[in-house]
């Protein structure tokens, strides 16, 4: 357990500089975006009102209120998120391959540590999950601040209601931070299983070389197939099952897929891995 925490600490630290850069990027881009989009709206609004000599209510009737979605849908908001997602997805692979390549043969040291080798796997897995969680938390914390920024620029008359509960319906964000705890578990659970399967696929490649890539892909597809089997079963049996039953079957399949990912990874790390 101690070694797991030490390795986890180590892995998180390795990515930390890049992580801070991502955080910085998100904050800067979104804050600037909040200002730019709001000011932009006000400028346009002022222009139109002056040009056409409209009153406020006339303008609003014609052009509608400013909704927070206008900011949330802008590149300022979205691009840093997409960029971070891309970075993290790359890191899912890089977190392993970085220890093999370049002037780096750190994998020797990792595999020679006096600890069960699966600990390395768990540490890297947890790292990814923490990094994702961290960014999501960051976003949740940023939203109220961004609301403040927007509301300080756009007067009340021009905006629609910005209360927090409003965001539940925002399509953009609902899959990022679901409001129900169960939804949270589900989505991150699926994410966890996905990363676990990817990790095991990477280890398959590292153990078997070129033909390993083939096996890895087959393994990935098999895992996916097993996972969605309940859904397929339901479709082919013409909706025979209740939602709860499908859910329970999916849960069982998830456990099977996750369990086998870990079991295979453990076996590979102990007996098949090559440096």
């Amino acid at each position: 357990m101690k070694n797991y925490l030490k390795l986890l600490n180590f892995e998180v630290n390795r990515f930390f500089k890049l992580y801070l850069t991502l955080i910085g990027l998100i904050i800067v881009s979104q804050f600037i975006g909040a200002i730019v989009v709001s000011k932009g709206y006000m400028n346009v609004t002022d222009q139109v009102i002056n040009k056409n000599q409209l009153s406020v209510s006339q303008y609003i009737k014609e052009y509608g209120l400013f909704s927070f979605e206008q900011f949330v849908g802008s590149e300022w908001f979205v691009l840093p998120i997409l960029f971070s997602i891309a970075m993290l997805m790359i890191y899912v692979f890089f977190i392993w391959y970085r220890d093999w390549f370049g002037k780096n043969t750190f994998i020797y040291r990792l595999l020679m540590l006096p600890t069960e080798r699966i600990t390395i796997y768990f540490a890297k897995l947890t790292t990814i999950m923490l990094l994702v969680l961290g960014l999501v938390t960051l976003q949740i914390l940023l939203i109220p601040i961004e609301i403040k920024i927007v509301t300080s620029i756009i007067p009340t008359d021009f905006r629609s209601d910005f209360s927090s509960s409003h965001f539940d319906s925002l399509e953009m964000l609902v899959w990022l931070y679901p409001n129900a705890f169960i939804e949270f578990i589900l989505i991150y659970g699926v994410g966890l299983i996905l990363v676990a399967v990817l990790f095991t696929a990477i280890l398959i490649e590292r153990s078997y070389g070129l033909k390993g890539i083939f096996f890895a892909i087959v393994y990935g597809m098999l895992s996916f197939g097993v996972f969605i089997a309940p859904i397929l079963l339901n479709v082919f049996s013409n909706d025979y099952f209740y939602a709860l039953e499908i859910f329970l079957m999916l849960l069982v399949m998830s456990i099977i897929v996750l369990g086998s990912a870990i079991w295979i990874a453990n076996h590979l790390l102990k007996y098949k891995i090559r440096v």
Binding site: T105, L111, M112, P114, I273, V275
Partner: protein
């Protein structure tokens, strides 16, 4: 003692190790000798479970390798086993963190003996200095067995002399050491046993002093006989 028993290994179709067997005792320096590519490094990696074997057995003090074994055996490969951006002192902290058997004082001693600066980053070290740091990572561990892969290759003669000095010191005494080399003549007088390997097999395994005494031959002489015959 480390026992390698009938180890078979294939890379694809090619049989790299063909029923290879030898033993290395604690308190002795055993040298695996053979041309480049014959499989010496592979054997070492196999002992450390860093590469799989197809069949055969490798036992360390009678047991198969487990996680505890890594406090008993360590491997010094010809590449650095730390992150290049780490400073030497960071590398030492890492070792202290994970290994109970890490001896920080000995690491410090060796650092001074090799005249290295602990604040230097590993990526900025010369090849010779990197090899020395790698050595320290192995020698400062209170392990019973040390595996060193080509400790003398590719480094300048002064670094080599320094490293050779380590072999004659208390740092090696009482430990079991397996080294590989393809340049045996430099270190003939340092080793206890020689294992001649060719074509994935052990051709001859012998005590160096015994052969000198009984047959008046040096290791190089034996090599000539064995590899030609």
């Amino acid at each position: 003692m480390i026992e390698v028993k009938n180890v078979e290994k294939k890379y694809g179709r090619k049989r790299v190790l063909k029923g290879l067997s030898f033993t290395a005792e604690k308190g002795e320096i055993t040298c695996l000798i053979g041309i480049n590519g014959v499989g010496k490094t592979t054997i070492m990696k196999a002992i450390m479970a860093l590469t799989p074997i197809n069949s055969g057995e490798i036992l360390i003090d009678g047991k198969k390798i487990r996680k505890e074994s890594f406090e008993k055996v360590t491997f010094i490969p010809d590449t650095i086993t730390m992150l290049p951006q780490m400073k030497i002192c960071d590398a030492f902290s890492f070792m202290a963190d994970f290994y109970k058997n890490w001896d920080p004082q000995r690491a410090e001693e060796l650092l001074q003996f090799f005249k290295l600066d602990p604040t230097e980053r590993i990526a900025n070290l010369s090849k010779g200095n990197m090899a020395k740091v790698n050595m320290i990572l192995g020698l400062a561990l209170n392990v019973d067995y040390l595996l060193m892969d080509e400790p003398f290759s590719g480094i300048d003669i002064f670094s080599r002399e320094q490293i050779a000095e380590v072999f004659t010191s208390h740092l090696i005494e009482d430990r079991g050491v397996i080294i590989t080399t393809h340049e045996i003549s430099d270190i003939e007088h340092l080793i206890d046993r020689a294992v001649l390997i060719d074509n994935g097999e052990v051709l001859k395994e012998f005590s160096v002093e015994e052969v000198r005494e009984k047959e008046g031959k040096s290791v190089v002489d034996v090599m000539r006989e064995v590899y030609r015959g």
